[in-house]
Symmetry: C2
Subunit: 343 residues, 2 copies
């Protein structure tokens, strides 16, 4: 493959002149023609990274996601990839698996390699690694750095409110809110806030339980996680709160909601006849089919679009809101009794 030196030699100009032609700097018409001719003749290809070293822009974006096992993250990645490709940007991918060191390494590489920016969902304490300013758009999580990091998220508070409303309108009187929440400052926490707000405003009995995300790393496959959920449900299902048992459950994710439905059925409870269950995310069977349980659907495409738009604005030194909350909606997956039209 021809190098920039070959082009310079062939055109009879300096490497600097070739570089100037490539990077659109001012060059005399005659010399430009000579260089362009040699570039064509030698089939010289400009390395995008070589260009990046010069222009300080590589058109690469680092995407950090916690895992690809959760289809919500997959759908988000798919949407981000489409949107970024439309903006002629390529993706560097980091699946952190909650590994802070891994995230730190990728962020370091991103800074070193002059990547345009980062769009990420991270629940690690990575702030200490953000020692140099970089364009960073965070999904869900608030990050404290010495430069601003805007947050894009669903309207989690309204989502929590809507979940409570769906259960309430479906005839539930005793609600339980089960959340798996990171100890970090995330927007996800607002799901609980919204849920509790609605219950308080409408004088509905409720209990909330927060389970640390570490405790239930893999709800589905881990025996311990299942047992914990099972035991919590058993305790609540066998308790009478004055005038009845828990008859409506809000799970902070569909993952958790599905496990709850399975465990309830194992206990002989019918869903939604005896207990109604609503999750959060709006996951579908193999990402295309029916929703798996009644849920608060996150606007995945819009989340991706807004994150990319924010990134582009930051790159253009335009202003971006600190937090953007995007509309959610109720989707009926048969585990609640409420109809769409009721909400």
């Amino acid at each position: 493959m021809a190098t920039i030196k070959d082009v310079a030699r062939d055109a009879g100009v300096s490497v600097g002149t070739v570089s100037n032609v490539i990077n659109g700097a001012k060059v005399g018409d005659e010399k430009r023609a000579l260089v362009e001719n040699s570039i064509r003749k030698l089939d010289y290809r400009v390395s995008g990274w070589a260009r990046g070293l010069k222009t300080q822009r590589t058109d690469c974006v680092l995407i950090i996601l916690p895992s690809l096992e959760n289809p919500f993250f997959t759908m988000l990645l798919s949407a981000l990839e489409k949107k970024l490709y439309a903006c002629k940007k390529q993706i560097f991918l980091c699946i952190s698996d909650g590994d802070k060191e891994k995230e730190a390494k990728f962020i370091e590489l991103a800074v070193e390699n002059k990547i345009d920016g980062i769009i990420g969902i991270t629940y690690s304490n990575i702030e200490e690694y953000l020692t140099e300013p970089i364009v960073f758009v965070s999904l869900d999580r608030h990050l404290q750095a010495f430069f601003p990091i805007p947050v894009v998220a669903s309207d989690n508070r309204l989502g929590g409110r809507t979940a409570a409303e769906v259960l309430h309108r479906g005839g539930c009187h005793k609600l339980l809110c089960l959340l798996t929440i990171s100890s970090r400052n995330t927007e996800v926490r607002k799901r609980k806030t919204g849920f509790e707000e609605y219950c308080q405003e409408n004088d509905i009995f409720y209990n909330s339980i927060e389970i640390s995300e570490n405790q239930i790393k893999s709800i589905y496959s881990s025996f311990e996680s299942r047992k914990l959920i099972h035991d919590i449900l058993l305790a609540y299902m066998n308790s009478d709160f004055g005038d009845g048992c828990i008859d409506g459950i809000f799970a902070s994710t569909d993952h958790l909601g599905i496990v709850i439905c399975e465990e309830l059925r194992k206990m002989g409870k019918r869903v939604p006849e005896d207990v109604q269950v609503i999750g959060f995310d709006g996951l579908k069977l193999i990402n295309q089919g029916d929703v798996l349980i009644s849920s608060i659907e996150q606007p995945v495409e819009l989340l991706a679009e807004t994150a990319v738009d924010s990134l582009l604005k930051l790159l253009n030194h335009e202003e971006v809101p600190d937090v953007t909350n995007l509309p959610i909606r109720f989707v009926d997956g048969g585990t609640t009794k409420t109809r769409y039209s009721d909400v």
Copy 2:
């Protein structure tokens, strides 16, 4: 941020000397100490890409996948990312959506940017873009280039045989094989070969139908695709082949198999009582739970591991087999009557 020029100025040496220190070339002890001192002092960070321009190795691998909607591809990506990270390689991601131009652009960029290599599943006719040799490991698909491109795939032939065997041992007498197959030369085609072989050897009645992948781009969401599957099933279910109807169906993917189960149930057929159905891939509910239908499970982790190992071997100029076929296994998802122990 400090540049290589700042380091050179501070150390009182030429940029070339700094570059030699960075790239491990021979430099006198005194000068090396000066440079290393300045690098520390100025907190100069070597750009990996700058290093790549010099060493012709960037430790980046391009992953090409057709989509992320199919969980099989997602699980594969997840496994590839883990394995590559363990080898200190980063991922550039291209989700092609069957867009040949997009794949071509990414391959071109990979060559230009001196990416280490490509691991990809592609069903496009991209051979014409492979004009320069690049380390390329293909999953499933045979690519014709002027340089060798090894193929890593599941043992699709044994998979097809096993699917026929599962239906046969479950008591089926009239088999139907429904395949969605790309017109390209892929290993996937062997699913049919293996299925038909088993039927012929055991004197079992069978019919095979191939549906072009273009016709059923999105089986789940497209009305036309559904209708096509529905009509084919209706035609077969209402036909008597001498001594009975079709009682066992092999679908070339779980996606297709799930749609077939749904359509059969809509027609009033019970699965597996009236008709047994087996798919291919081994998809699980939200990637962690139960398998969705009886299936031939692909060894996703092993596929990823073998693809990465092949890539590393090619980079070391070691030999790699033209085709590697990896073991599959039957997983019982309740849509067949055969037990594990029978196969």
